[in-house]
Symmetry: C2
Subunit: 531 residues, 2 copies
């Protein structure tokens, strides 16, 4: 069986995604996780182009990897100069990375129009650069930029560049669909042609501009490519790079290729979420294999089908990639789901009782006010608890007030946060006693949070371990501008578990407050305030 090399470029090409800005520490954390996961090559950056990248290579080499080889990325020498005088090649050497991926042009029109040099000089740039790095003991991969477009435009030249690189000592010829517009059939044909024309392993580097990067990568492997380059979550410039989170399970589960040590595949979902956390991007719930919704079932038909046969509506076992199935609460499901959820969380709601009917009505009313429970199971569970007769909440709100003040004298748009003042006063009933507390905070929601905790902590000291993890606001009716209804979704954690709550209001502070209160009430309820 062919041995496939997994090559991750999240830290270099992935970092080009709009909105991503990794620190050196971020990159080191991610690199370590990629190594643990079993990635064979980790491309760390472009030494010389960015001072952060230089520091990353220094520290990554100090840290060391268990499985992976560290790769530095850079371009072939500039036209018209010697390799030893080229700043980029020097920086690549100085990075200390044992492997270098050199980007070189393999498309004749790109050479003439963009590089603005001759076809012959471009080939010399490729061979000189490879020979120079090999002479200094580096392993070299060629990233053949614009290969597939170049192959269409001038097949002989595209192949000539690859053959020259192979002769100069490149260990792998990575065919790059730089603009991401190639079709799987074109990829398969060109890869086959290269595999039979050269005697060096071939790789694939695809972009997702035509929503085909995963298909193109798989087509290349089928046609004989043995190295697959991509990024976690498909992060990358424009529409992204080939998504390793979809490619790896396809190779392992559908192609039956042993690309990873056994059992590592079940870390995939965690790895995907970890990288999105470090990138400070909300995880995309709709991602194949690893998304929160990837194995969610909403329609009544599918839910009842799943109850009869586990694989009725699942293409793989979610556990294989570390994910799990979910049933959604929505207007499409109805009473059965509510009763089932009540049973799951240990609340007795008779299926034909008036409580279920009232709860269903309440969910509908709240949804029409902007609440949404699909992503806020904890708030939904609280509704179920509150619907049960005899429910005793761990605390009861009476009222609150917030004052926010900004006083400035000099600068036009000041950023001095210390000039801002936020104070909150809260009145809460806890265990029969009315607590009246006040706090100053870093913003109004923080002030409310602190005042509320002041009131609750004497009775529930373990609440201190509950923290806000993510906080999302969505506006629901555009036309009314700043007076629109907003929905706030809060993700909380106690270090072990995570839960989601929702609040909606035309008042941003009230919406945040409702979600915040639900978060604390949910945790107290679940842990009896005792854990």
């Amino acid at each position: 069986m062919t041995e496939i090399q997994l090559y991750d470029t999240t830290l270099r090409d992935g970092a080009q995604r709009e909105g991503i800005s990794f620190s050196v520490a971020d990159k080191l954390h991610i690199a370590q996780r990629l190594d643990d996961f079993g990635m064979h090559f980790i491309e760390g950056g472009w030494p010389g182009a960015n001072p952060k990248d230089n520091e990353f290579f220094q520290q990554a080499l100090k840290m060391g990897f268990k499985n992976a080889s560290l790769v530095a990325f850079g371009s072939t020498r500039k036209a018209g100069i010697a390799a030893e005088d080229d700043v980029t090649l020097k920086a690549l050497l100085e990075s200390g990375a044992p492997v270098v991926t050199l980007v070189g042009k393999s498309s004749a029109p790109q050479v003439e129009k963009v590089l603005a040099t001759t076809l012959e000089e471009n080939i010399r740039m490729v061979t000189d650069s490879i020979e120079f790095l090999k002479a200094h003991g580096r392993r070299v991969f060629l990233d053949a930029e614009h290969f597939f477009d170049g192959y269409k435009a001038d097949q002989a030249y595209a192949l000539a560049v690859l053959k020259a690189a192979a002769a100069a000592g490149a260990e792998c010829l990575v065919l790059c669909d730089t603009n991401g517009g190639a079709l799987p059939g074109e990829i398969a044909e060109a890869v086959s042609a290269v595999v039979s024309a050269v005697n060096v392993p071939v790789g694939i580097h695809a972009h997702n501009d035509a929503e085909l990067a995963v298909a193109n990568s798989l087509a290349a492997v089928k046609a004989g490519a043995v190295q697959v380059q991509g990024t976690i979550n498909g992060y990358g410039e424009r529409c992204g790079n080939a998504n390793l989170c979809s490619i790896i399970p396809a190779l392992k589960l559908k192609f039956g290729l042993d690309v990873l040590p056994d059992n590592n595949l079940s870390d995939l979902t965690e790895l995907s979420h970890f990288v999105s956390e470090v990138a400070n991007l909300a995880p995309d719930p709709f991602l194949p294999y690893v998304g929160h919704s990837a194995f969610s079932h909403k329609a009544g038909l599918h839910v009842s089908g799943l109850a009869r046969w586990e694989f009725a509506y699942q293409h793989i076992d979610p556990a294989a990639v570390g994910n799990k199935p979910r049933t959604l609460v929505s207007e499409l499901s109805g009473k059965t789901n509510i009763v089932q959820r009540a049973t799951e969380i240990g609340v007795e709601l008779p299926a034909r009782g008036k409580e279920v009917k009232a709860l269903l009505q309440r969910v509908k009313d709240l949804e029409s006010l902007g609440f949404q429970y699909e992503n806020a199971e904890a708030s939904f569970d609280l509704l179920v608890h509150r619907a049960a007769t005899g429910y005793q909440p761990p605390f009861e709100l009476i009222d609150f007030m917030v004052v926010i003040e900004k006083r400035r004298r000099a600068p036009m748009v000041s950023l001095a946060h210390e000039e801002m003042m936020s104070e909150a006063i809260v009145k809460v009933r806890v265990n029969g006693e009315v607590m009246h507390t006040a706090a100053e905070g870093n913003g109004p929601v923080n002030a409310l949070d602190l005042a509320l905790r002041k009131a609750l902590l004497p009775s529930y000291p373990t609440l201190a371990r509950v923290n806000l993890k993510d906080f999302k606001v969505r506006i629901l009716e555009e036309s009314t501008g700043t007076g629109s209804i907003v929905r706030v979704l809060i993700e909380s954690t106690d270090g072990n578990e995570e839960w989601h709550t929702v609040g909606a209001s035309s008042n941003l502070i009230e919406a945040s407050w409702l979600a915040l209160v639900d978060s604390l009430e949910y945790w107290l309820l679940k842990n009896g305030g005792q854990v």
Copy 2:
């Protein structure tokens, strides 16, 4: 040339996406746009399953379509009863839709495990149902559920179901990859086999669970399928349906198939954004072809390449799908981009002057405080203006105060927003005069907005047409909970143009305030307060 039918199921299968809940009016708006765009079939819903869907069909038939045929979706008759006694079939007839897509099982294990009936009865269910609808004058398509899994499990039975449906009068046999796990090669092989086994047109309905829905749809067309089902933006259950916004341009621009009237393709980006607006989902900027980032260029290398050759880093002309290229501002670009942007907006900043250096430093400082300009060009342009010597802002803030109060007496978690009170006091210098205004608002940001407008409108009455369009909040540092730094992105519109501004602070209100102030200042600057 084969004539390809485009079949849109955004209103039925697309509506299954987590977070989507269309009203009847939403569905009618979308249907009209799909018809204008040139879609051949519009599937409106599942009559009988949802009272909304019944109303939709009534109104859609009244409205009428220019190009498209309206389709109702439903399942074959239940096991063991006559077609004329089946509630679903009756509802399909009553919908009045001229075309019906009937979902029937074509996978032997699905029939036995999920339907829990015999293989023979399932075939009778398919044929009876088709014959019943045909007898009542309806055109019928068969949606062969789980076809590709069924074809792998029991090829003879899967084909037998299709042949029975064809014999009963089905006009098109739509092969469905219900679980979304099939590979393009499997799709191509099975479609080819069906095309040569039956004499009725074949369609494809793919899901994106393996990130292959677009590739699978294109593979099916290449193998002979003539109907392609999908949704706008790939909305759909779990990881979504096949994305028509990627399939249609591939068919038209890459396969050279004339699937749409000329010129309609350039409405694609607008259609995509329209549907996400109606669905109340932020448009995904990373979507191929139609995303805001689909033709964005961040790295200096790509930007300079594009300046030399338009197609250096673009797989198609963005205008062909109604999109356009963008250059991004970020730490990866630097001084050249800033000077270029200044020139574009008519601000004189000498390339080697101290203003550019100071501005670059200011951008870095602000980015480290949580500001981000990639999605907030208007705020960035303001920074450029403010960096120029002699800049005169249209107004100057002095200070503000906000009070938010909630008083409640009775219910546990009240939703009565009228109990909330938000008041703001604002002091602003406009044209040399200090305006001190106060307003009560629907939430604190609205109160600030109203108070600020009260101060500005006497001098700038046209500001009344500026409205908030979208409002996004992201938390930037998890560990500090409700005291975290938040970034607010505001999208504003004056009815013609849209612009984006950013604010960041540990105080949610201040962050909103900064983005709001930028939005108004930007508009005043651009329109001279005179338009």
